[in-house]
């Protein structure tokens, strides 16, 4: 039977497949407002950009000792960037790559614990691709799933159930460990090891000041894996597509304050809050070229620096559709011209076809756990429970969600 609403204009019908749950007619007005708001923000950014670029030019002319002084006056909680030895505005072309080198990418996905499931577990799956450039051979593809189900794996040191952020942290450590494993096996050939996010452990970034023993443990393991990568002489980098970072802009803003007025309070004031670093550099970096290298200034990075892994970054025009990416590297890569050049030129080579490094595209493909995969895993777990004489039962809430989630579509 046709529903009464079916006779009216239904925007859902514009999509192939027809039926959607969301009442798109009710959201149309808000969508129009969103479009207008986006256009307005774009105008504001366009107006602010020349001023910010002029400020960048002005700030880059400051004496390095004065910049250091400003950063010190800004205090421990200021989150900006500290310039290195390279002039701020320089854009550098890539160096040549060796005839044979190896690109290694790792990415992870996860299934979070679900208290409504038949059994308590979570899953971390890490995909990786190790591609030997110049070999002509098929790369080594791998997928490493790890099921966490023991009591100590599913609870924190305080005895509480682990949350999604701890699962994410576990996944991040596993990604870094996979890179370290592959880099150790690749010794003899220069290697570039890549993650598709920043290198400052996200979980620690969120929880650093709470000093949770579980977060501290994950951070320790994460830094330990970075130690292994350094020993393997692998060039480690985190690739961030469409970055939202503002470390460089904050440094520019800090430099625009009168020196005597710089303090922890004034350093938090934003002059260009509608811009991100990427906007600032879009017109300044020609395709294939990178910006100067800066050091991340943040309390968490101090912990990384204490282990010799202080995180630095540069921006890179990948040459793919004008894309400006942020590339994060540890100190031992930033300070070694050979490794830094391999990161720069290697990422460009990897981005040629896919816009982001090919090894990361494939690592993601190998890591992703689809709904179908999850269903198959749950079926396996149900079988294991049955063999133990346990009837697998999901919660009533979960059961009712399944009733309504998979709506049948009858096409006449």
């Amino acid at each position: 039977m046709r529903s009464p609403a079916g006779a009216r204009y239904n925007p859902a019908r514009v999509f192939e497949g027809g039926d959607v749950s969301l009442d798109l007619a009710k959201v149309l007005n808000q969508v129009d407002q969103l479009g207008a708001e986006t256009a307005q923000r774009q105008l504001e950014r366009a107006a602010a950009l020349p001023k910010a670029q002029a400020a960048l030019h002005q700030a880059s002319a400051l004496d390095p000792s004065e910049i250091r002084q400003r950063i010190e006056r800004a205090g421990d909680r200021w989150r900006g960037a500290s310039p290195g030895s390279e002039a701020w505005q320089i854009s550098l072309p890539p160096p040549a790559l060796p005839a044979r080198w190896r690109a290694i990418g790792a990415d992870g996905s996860q299934v979070y614990p679900d208290r409504h499931a038949a059994a308590q577990f979570c899953l971390v799956n890490v995909g990786s691709l190790c591609l030997s450039h110049g070999s002509g051979e098929a790369p080594l593809a791998s997928s490493q799933p790890r099921l966490l189900f023991r009591q100590d794996e599913l609870t924190t040191s305080q005895g509480e159930a682990i949350d999604t952020s701890l699962v994410n942290g576990t996944r991040d450590v596993a990604e870094m460990a996979e890179l370290a494993d592959l880099a150790e096996r690749s010794s003899g050939e220069p290697s570039l090891t890549l993650l598709d996010n920043g290198l400052l452990l996200w979980l620690a970034l969120q929880e650093f000041e709470h000093h949770s023993p579980d977060v501290d443990l994950l951070l320790k393991r994460y830094l330990g894996e970075m130690d292994r990568l350094r020993r393997a002489q692998a060039a480690l980098a985190g690739f961030i597509d469409r970055p939202r970072g503002t470390n460089l802009l904050r440094l520019v803003e800090l430099c625009m304050l009168p020196l005597q007025q710089v303090n922890p309070e004034t350093s938090r004031q934003r002059l260009y809050s509608n811009l991100v670093d990427r906007d600032l550099l879009e017109g300044l970096l020609p395709p294939g070229q990178r910006s100067a290298v800066f050091r991340v200034v943040s309390p968490l990075n101090a912990a990384f620096e204490a282990r010799g892994h202080g995180i630095h970054f540069f921006y890179l025009n990948t040459g793919y559709d004008g894309q400006i990416a942020r590339v994060e590297i540890p100190a031992w890569v930033a300070e070694d011209p050979d490794s830094l050049g391999r990161v720069h030129a290697g990422i460009l080579k990897e981005c040629l076809v896919t816009g982001i490094p090919y090894v990361l595209v494939r690592a993601h493909e190998l890591a992703v756990v689809t709904q179908h995969d999850r269903g198959a895993l749950e079926a396996l777990i149900a079988g294991a429970l049955l063999r133990q004489g346990i009837a697998p039962r999901i919660s009533q809430k979960s059961a009712t969600k399944r009733w309504t989630a998979a709506r049948r579509r009858h096409r006449l």
Partner: protein
């Protein structure tokens, strides 16, 4: 010849006469034309047996991106060809079914259901089903599929599933059965016999 029950597809649409399945497979794991496969039906009570008569590689965004590139790296090409699971669609012609231990050379009571797993037949199962060649009339009379070629390929595989000393005799017997069925169409029979000869009949 596949000896293990690797899943080579999941049924996406079907009828009594055949079924279609999709899946992602690496190139080395792709099924072959004329391959013997099965899919469960009637709640697992029966297994519908099919001969693969078409394998198509479906659209894939990353492959399209690589194809459109000026010069994809040889390592990336090798990755796509050997490592990446390719989205494929296979079509199978129904030639019989199994109920318990009994093999039936006729169309099944019901087709497999959506998402039923399609697996290859083991050599022993191919030998068992082809002890009799009663499926040939059904297969050879199927319109709109390359019936003669798929039957020839399937018979060659059935021969390969037998001990070396039995293969020739099996193919001779199959050729005789084809001659009986296609006696009214000598051109078609000749082409089939040539196809079977490629499988070892002198």
């Amino acid at each position: 010849m596949t000896e293990t029950r690797a899943v080579i597809g999941r049924v996406t649409r079907c009828s009594i006469r055949g079924f279609v399945g999709g899946i992602r497979l690496r190139q080395p794991d792709l099924p072959v034309f004329g391959g013997w496969c099965q899919a469960p039906a009637q709640g697992g009570e029966t297994s519908v047996l099919g001969l693969i008569y078409d394998i198509s590689i479906e659209d894939d965004e990353l492959a399209r991106q690589l194809a459109a590139a000026d010069a994809p790296l040889p390592e990336q090409q090798a990755d796509s060809q050997l490592n990446r699971p390719i989205p494929i669609e296979l079509r199978a012609l129904t030639v019989g079914y199994r109920r318990g231990d009994a093999w039936v050379h006729a169309l099944p009571p019901q087709p497999p259901v959506t998402l039923a797993e399609i697996t290859c037949l083991a050599s022993a199962e191919i030998r068992a089903f082809t002890q009799r060649l009663d499926f040939l009339p059904l297969a050879l009379s199927t319109p709109e599929v390359p019936a003669d070629q798929v039957v020839s390929a399937a018979l060659r595989q059935a021969a390969a599933a037998r001990p070396a000393e039995e293969r020739r005799a099996f193919l001779v017997q199959a050729g005789q059965e084809c001659a009986r069925l296609l006696g009214q169409d000598l051109g078609r029979l000749e082409r089939m016999l040539r196809d079977l000869q490629a499988g070892g009949v002198a």
